[in-house]
């Protein structure tokens, strides 16, 4: 037996004799509960395949964990909910019409390779769900980029765009082939095409209710970004319950806003504030900030460390989006910063109260 497995079964009879009512299980199930409204709404607007996708992700994650623990003779820990939550988070990051078997494969990879092989709950370096998504993306990038619902209002319908007549064919291809918002925050590629009539483009976007669509959820996009407002509500719920702290989501969103606003201001964009806003509310940034970056296992321990981590996530999100033309940059940014967590933890030890500097 490893030292840890004996610790797990030991009854604690030492002081303190009272405990806060909090437990690991409660924390994890609270996260699951916070995701449910957004996922339910997503199922409602995207249809039965999305509901099945969510269920398959959660079920296959739990099954994979149980199977792995049976095979390796470990304690079955599915009841703590962490595998189920990994599945749900993965579902959030997938296109709503993705074939179910792909989702199941990603889920199994997330739980086994990215979590259990690292030693199980609490020991994984990378966010398991995002690792699962990364694998799916590199193997089946076709499906991962096209299995969208094209909805009437939010997606930018090609015929309407062409009717403006001022939009070059390349820009049209970029905008219509990807989820909404993507075309907008890639300044380097798209903005130059609109320089002569950016206002027209802006008006068009407003006219198409892009903001309303992003908030209300009928904009297409990933399962988890069906309705930004519901995702945000889940995040606020987690903050209120004390499951996550403000450090990571706020520093993430603020750094992304700053980076985006300054970049567009200095590159001569007409409306940097508007594009910044699109940056924040589209491309899964909100779910990433509250449900993926703020995952305690794969983020730093201290408040200062969390702010560094969140800021890094925001800045990398912007760099990847603007230089690399990829909307769900937030996921990659988080994986990048996950790798930096041991280093961040090392440099952000809190000061010990009353400790002499010399005795360090």
């Amino acid at each position: 037996m490893t030292p840890d497995s004996s610790a797990e079964t030991k009854i604690n009879l030492y002081a303190p004799h009272i405990m806060s009512g909090d437990s690991t299980g409660r924390i994890i199930w609270t996260v699951a509960a916070a995701m449910l409204p957004a996922l339910a709404y997503s199922s409602f607007i995207h249809g039965i395949n999305t509901l099945l996708l969510i269920l398959v992700c959660a079920a296959s994650a739990v099954a994979a964990e149980i199977l792995f623990q049976l095979v390796t003779g470990r304690r079955i820990t599915a009841a703590d909910g962490s595998a189920a939550v990994t599945g749900l988070v993965l579902a959030m990051t997938l296109p709503p019409l993705l074939p179910l078997w792909m989702a199941a494969a990603g889920s199994c990879f997330a739980v086994i390779a990215a979590k259990q092989l690292f030693g199980g709950l609490g020991r994984n370096l990378f966010n398991p769900a995002l690792a699962g998504r990364a694998l799916l993306f590199v193997i089946w990038s076709g499906s991962m980029r096209t299995a969208w619902n094209v909805t009437s209002e939010g997606n930018i319908p090609a015929e309407k765009l062409t009717s403006y007549g001022i939009i070059p064919q390349q820009a049209l291809d970029v905008i219509t082939s990807t989820p909404p918002g993507e075309g907008m925050y890639n300044a380097a590629t798209v903005i130059p095409w609109f320089t002569e009539s950016f206002t027209a483009f802006y008006d068009f976007m407003i006219g198409q209710n892009i903001l309303k669509a992003l908030f209300a959820g009928n904009s297409g996009g990933l399962t988890g970004e069906a309705a930004v407002i519901l995702v945000l509500a889940g995040g606020v719920f987690l903050l209120w319950r004390g499951v996550i702290t403000w450090h990571i989501p706020f520093s993430f969103l603020i750094s992304l806003s700053f980076a985006s606003y300054f970049f567009y201001s200095f590159t001569g964009s007409v409306s940097p504030g508007f594009i910044t806003f699109i940056h924040i509310i589209s491309g899964s940034v909100i779910p990433a900030a509250f449900f993926m970056a703020a995952d305690p296992v794969t983020s730093p321990l201290t408040g200062r460390g969390m702010v560094i981590f969140g800021t890094g996530c925001g800045i990398f999100t912007f760099i990847i989006r603007s230089a690399g033309f990829y909307p769900e940059a937030a996921f990659w940014a988080i994986l990048l910063m996950n790798a930096a967590v041991p280093l961040i933890d090392r440099i952000t030890k809190p000061p010990v109260f009353g400790l002499n500097r010399s005795s360090k």
Binding site: S6, T9, Y14, L121, F353, N356
Partner: protein, 442 residues
């Protein structure tokens, strides 16, 4: 100027069980058990032997040196034996006295001579002779905590009136009922310490206590050296380093004692006993304790003789309502769980708690999910989870990089840990070198 220490927790205080009780006397025990070690110093040396007759309040064991206190007979009677018995400080020699004869001193005022005319040395001798120790926490030091030393200058006396320990209400009730006496005790302590001012640290949620003290201060002309300071209601606001920072903004450095920082910190019960020792020449043979918890028949605050067995106390307090999930001597966050109901009350016993299943936590511990709560609540700025994970790998050097030696054992980290990892216990094991004697997993 408001200094708040970092971290801390707000456990449910559950003071409603005993908060409105008055101070009741429990009957004196038939048999009294006096352990030789009742404080953090060396065990006292017995000056009686089996068969001797002792009077109430007679010296039965002498403090060996500074830091070790005299012990007096809590009851008059006959020394039956000096035998090794379990106590809250482990199995150790215990003087067993069977009560017989008259209780001469009980209720008598004794010497009521004016202490104002006595010198510091005379006053301090009275305190030493009475066998005074700190009455809460790990008991210790009859010599006013080592602060009474000619070479060390103490400028401020801090009275811990923060009452942030769950269940324990004896200090609050002492203030409510004996504010005048406590003010007098503070003045005596100021004279002994030759300190210029005293600060009474009061919980900012406990306006009753602040008002009572303010009222009592108003009645006294000579009390201008005493001020009241409100402290944020957070455990462990009463811990020495935290209370010194909270009241004065002074940081006690590592390796430094409170005395080294010019401060002496005492709790209300100790000051009350100090006054009795000086004004009445009364040895420390009884104290107030809080008897509480969901399983005790009549929770309350009781005056008990040192050496009374906790089983006898439980019986007199209405018995237990059923099997107690855990019996704790001391507070819920730092106290010791005991199973033997024959363990006697010692000088440092501030409370006996009989917790029900719903109150005491008794579950399994899981694995760390790196939530960082233990770091956020640590009042010393430590990283308990990092220490524990290094220890679970057997990495002693790695653990010491995180300064476990700075731990004050408040228990906040274990309280808050959602995985219920006994963090403070692991750190305590490391600090007490238990891993060297007894290697192996947690």
């Amino acid at each position: 100027m408001f200094h708040a220490f970092k971290g801390g927790i707000r456990p449910p205080l559950r003071k409603e069980l005993t908060g409105n009780s008055s101070l009741e006397n429990l009957s004196v025990p038939q048999v009294c058990y006096l352990p030789l070690k009742q404080d953090s110093g060396n065990p006292a040396v017995p000056v009686v032997k089996a068969g001797d007759s002792v009077d109430e309040g007679e010296l039965v064991a002498a403090g060996e040196c500074a830091g070790s206190a005299n012990i007096h007979a809590s009851v008059p009677g006959r020394v039956v034996d000096i035998a090794g018995l379990p106590t809250v400080y482990g199995v150790q020699p215990v003087i067993i006295i069977e009560a017989e004869g008259a209780f001469g001193k009980t209720g008598k005022a004794g010497n009521t001579g004016s202490w104002e005319n006595l010198s510091r040395d005379e006053l301090f001798k009275k305190v030493r002779d009475a066998g005074l120790v700190r009455l809460s926490g790990e008991g210790c030091a009859c010599d006013l905590d080592g602060t009474y030393r000619p070479d060390k200058k103490t400028d401020t006396l801090i009275i811990n009136c923060t009452a942030v320990e769950p269940y324990i209400t004896s200090d609050e009730i002492l203030i409510r009922t004996h504010a005048e006496e406590i003010i007098e005790g503070i003045l005596i302590a100021l004279k002994i310490l030759d300190a210029s001012k005293a600060v009474i640290a009061v919980n900012d949620r406990n306006s009753d206590a602040a008002l009572t003290i303010a009222g009592a201060l108003g009645n006294r002309r000579s009390a201008s050296a005493i001020t009241i300071k409100k402290i944020k209601n957070r455990y462990p606001a009463g811990a020495e380093k935290q209370i010194v920072f909270g009241t004065l903004g002074r940081v006690i450095k590592s390796g430094q004692t409170a005395a080294g920082a010019g401060v002496s910190v005492h709790d209300v019960a100790t000051i009350f006993a100090l006054r009795e020792a000086v004004v009445f020449d009364k040895p420390l043979i009884e104290r107030y304790i809080t008897v509480s918890g969901g399983m005790i028949g009549i929770p309350g605050n009781y005056k008990v003789r040192i050496g009374t067995r906790i089983g006898d106390i439980a019986e007199e307090c209405g018995g237990l309502k059923g099997k107690a999930s855990r019996v704790i001597i001391g507070g819920t966050l730092t106290g010791t769980a005991v199973t033997d109901m024959n363990i006697p009350v010692v000088k440092g016993t501030s409370a006996i708690l009989f917790l029900s299943d719903g109150e005491a936590y008794a579950g399994e511990s899981g694995t760390c999910i790196r939530c960082g709560r233990c770091i956020r609540v640590c009042p010393m700025g430590l990283m308990p989870c990092r220490i524990a994970s290094a220890l679970s790998r057997g990495d002693m050097t790695g653990a010491s990089d995180f300064h476990p030696e700075m731990c004050i054992m408040c228990g906040s980290c274990s309280y808050i840990c959602p995985a219920h990892i006994p963090l403070v216990h692991l750190i305590n094991r490391f600090n007490s070198k238990d891993y060297e004697i007894n290697p192996g997993p947690v």
